[in-house]
């Protein structure tokens, strides 16, 4: 054997690792999922860009819309941001959900999923781990936008409790949307096509809503489109919670809609995951 690859000392190290005959007990489903969520955290640590390129857009919009249109739309930037910010948190998070699909498609494309699937782990663990990791990513993005908003003069009437409830509701919605991207991520051929698909879907979804303006000034047909948009219900609920208003009806609507989306897309995603490729 040449000494090129395995020097005497290295060989010893190799054998120390290798000669351990006992195989560990298998990781539990929870432990495997948490370990894969840890992987998502490490990715945020090493590639913070993936967090910032999606928060940069809402941050830009926040600053731009607040100062450019704030005066015209609401009398003053300070008044407008009270209206705008809850919707921007929604927009930021809904946009980031795409990365669930992109990450999954990348893992499949690069063969990392094959490694996971060949390990003796609870098979859906990579899927649940990815979702868990994404929830952390969403929370961080929400924090970025809220902190920026407060710095620009956002003063929510609902206080911290209202803010936390609103963010929690947005996370529930984002959790359900993540499953849609899981399905997309496992269906498309390349990670890039997830991105392309997403913009066709996310731009209308977030702009044809009440994020930026009150739909009351829109033509009737557009009002019905905006009214039917789930994002509108979520924004109304989040805005109400942040400002301490009673929006229990909208909250219930969002929770129900999220439950329906999960009920449809989670089983589909898990079935696709088990499909051969």
């Amino acid at each position: 054997m040449s000494t090129d690859a395995l020097s005497a000392g290295a060989q010893g190290a190799f054998l120390r690792t290798y000669s351990k005959e006992e195989r560990p007990g298998l990781a539990s489903a929870l432990s495997a999922s948490l370990t894969l969520a840890w992987r998502a955290l490490l990715k945020i640590k090493h590639v913070p860009f993936q967090l910032f390129d999606v928060t940069a857009f809402p941050v830009m919009i926040t600053v731009l819309f607040t100062f450019l249109f704030g005066g015209a739309l609401a009398g003053s930037p300070g008044a407008y941001i009270q209206f705008l910010l809850p919707g921007l948190v929604v927009q930021a998070i809904v946009f980031i959900t795409v990365y669930t699909g992109v990450g999954l498609a990348t893992d499949i494309h690069k063969g990392i999923f094959d490694r996971f699937r060949s390990l003796p782990i609870w098979q859906p663990a990579p899927v649940f781990g990815a979702v868990l990791g994404d929830m952390i990513r969403y929370s961080l993005a929400a924090l970025v936008v809220v902190v920026l908003g407060v710095a620009l003069g956002f003063r929510p009437g609902g206080g911290i409790a209202g803010m936390l409830l609103a963010v929690a509701l947005i996370l529930v919605f984002a959790f359900s949307v993540s499953w849609i991207w899981m399905v997309v991520g496992m269906t498309v051929k390349t990670p890039e096509s997830v991105m392309t698909t997403s913009f066709l879907f996310l731009f209308p979804l977030t702009f044809l809503s009440n994020i930026f303006v009150d739909p009351a000034t829109m033509p009737g047909w557009l009002q019905s489109v905006v009214g039917a948009n789930p994002v509108t219900h979520l924004v109304t609920a989040a805005r109400g919670l942040m400002h301490g208003q009673d929006v229990i009806g909208n909250v219930a609507w969002v929770l129900l809609a999220s439950a329906v989306v999960v009920a449809v897309f989670a089983p589909l995603a898990l079935r696709l995951y088990h499909k051969e490729r």
Partner: protein, 320 residues
């Protein structure tokens, strides 16, 4: 005795394509078996069936006596797989990649870190442990990928083209690693396009093409089926080819293949001693030779002999 790997009439189809077409393969426990064939021969599909990533469509496949279709979880608990493309996470460091696998396999954080340290040291990656894998060279990635399959000692290790697209030095390192793994008693099934690689590592080879097993045996047996040695002679003047063929043919008792290169004569020879004589005959007749070589048959030549036609995608290795 149960075999480490045993397939019987194994079939895997994708649409109209029979990627694996009734393959019967037996691999003895503790041995190294080389699955040899060109791209698209069905090597990767075979490995994916054996590691439970694909379900067989017909026939059976057992790994360590376990049916891959009926007991996939039990099979996964005993095997390791290193795929053709480095399946490590580029964003993570070398250490993080191995600790991740260790945790998934049920090791404690401490044990996972300890084994990671040993493996990185053994595979010459200790200095790069804290670097993101995207900064690694191809050889380093491949070593890390193999290390990831060894975090918990597998009883059977599957390596899909472990040295493809590696430089010669990295290839040697991977060969050393495979020998060390085998020396510990792990059964290894590796796929390769290179006869030389299979020759150096594997006790037995299985040649497959179009999903079919063409030949199985030791490398000596395979080479004998092709003719023990391959002679190439290049003439200075192609117009003297007929004369040269006649002289060499008489001295060696063999026939020459007609290739596209008029100045190149190729033949299988069983008697190496006669080659020197034959070349002397050429010199006496005044036929000038610019180069000649005598060597083991290449995968191409094994294919030519086994299938009567060249491999679709010739092995990249040059015949010397």
């Amino acid at each position: 005795m149960t075999y480490a790997i045993e397939t019987s009439g194994l079939v895997k189809t994708f649409g109209q394509t029979r990627a694996v077409d009734s393959i019967d393969l037996r691999v003895r426990r503790g041995s190294v078996c080389g699955l040899l064939g060109p791209n698209g021969a069905g090597k990767t599909t075979t490995i994916r069936v054996l590691t439970t990533l694909l379900r067989p469509d017909a026939g059976s496949a057992h790994v360590l006596g376990l049916d891959v279709a009926r007991e996939p979880a039990a099979v996964r608990a005993k095997v390791g797989l290193t795929g053709q493309f480095a399946s490590v996470d580029e964003d993570l460091t070398g250490t993080e990649n191995l600790v991740l696998v260790g945790r998934l396999l049920g090791l404690s954080w401490g044990a996972a870190r300890e084994r990671t340290g040993h493996l990185l040291e053994a595979f010459g990656l200790a200095d790069a442990a804290k670097r993101q894998v995207r900064t690694y060279s191809g050889g380093m990635r491949r070593r890390l990928d193999i290390a990831a399959s060894l975090v918990v000692t597998p009883e059977v290790l599957f390596l899909d083209e472990p040295t493809s697209s590696l430089d010669p030095r990295s290839r040697n390192q991977v060969w050393d690693i495979i020998r060390a793994i085998s020396a510990q008693g792990t059964t290894v099934l590796l796929t390769t396009q290179y006869l030389e690689e299979a020759d150096r590592l594997a006790e037995r080879l299985a040649v497959i093409d179009h999903g079919r097993l063409l030949a199985e045996g030791t490398s000596r047996e395979l080479k004998e089926s092709v003719g023990s040695n391959r002679l190439h002679v290049r003439l200075r003047s192609p117009e003297r080819r007929a004369e040269a063929e006649q002289l060499l043919g008489k001295a060696l008792g063999t026939e020459f293949y007609n290739g596209t290169d008029a100045s190149l004569l190729s033949a299988n020879v069983n008697d190496e001693q006669a080659v020197a004589e034959a070349l002397a005959e050429l010199a006496r007749a005044g036929v000038r030779v610019t180069e000649f070589s005598l060597g083991s048959p290449s995968l191409d030549e094994v294919f030519l002999a086994l299938t009567g036609r060249p491999a679709e995608e010739p092995a990249k290795e040059a015949t010397s």
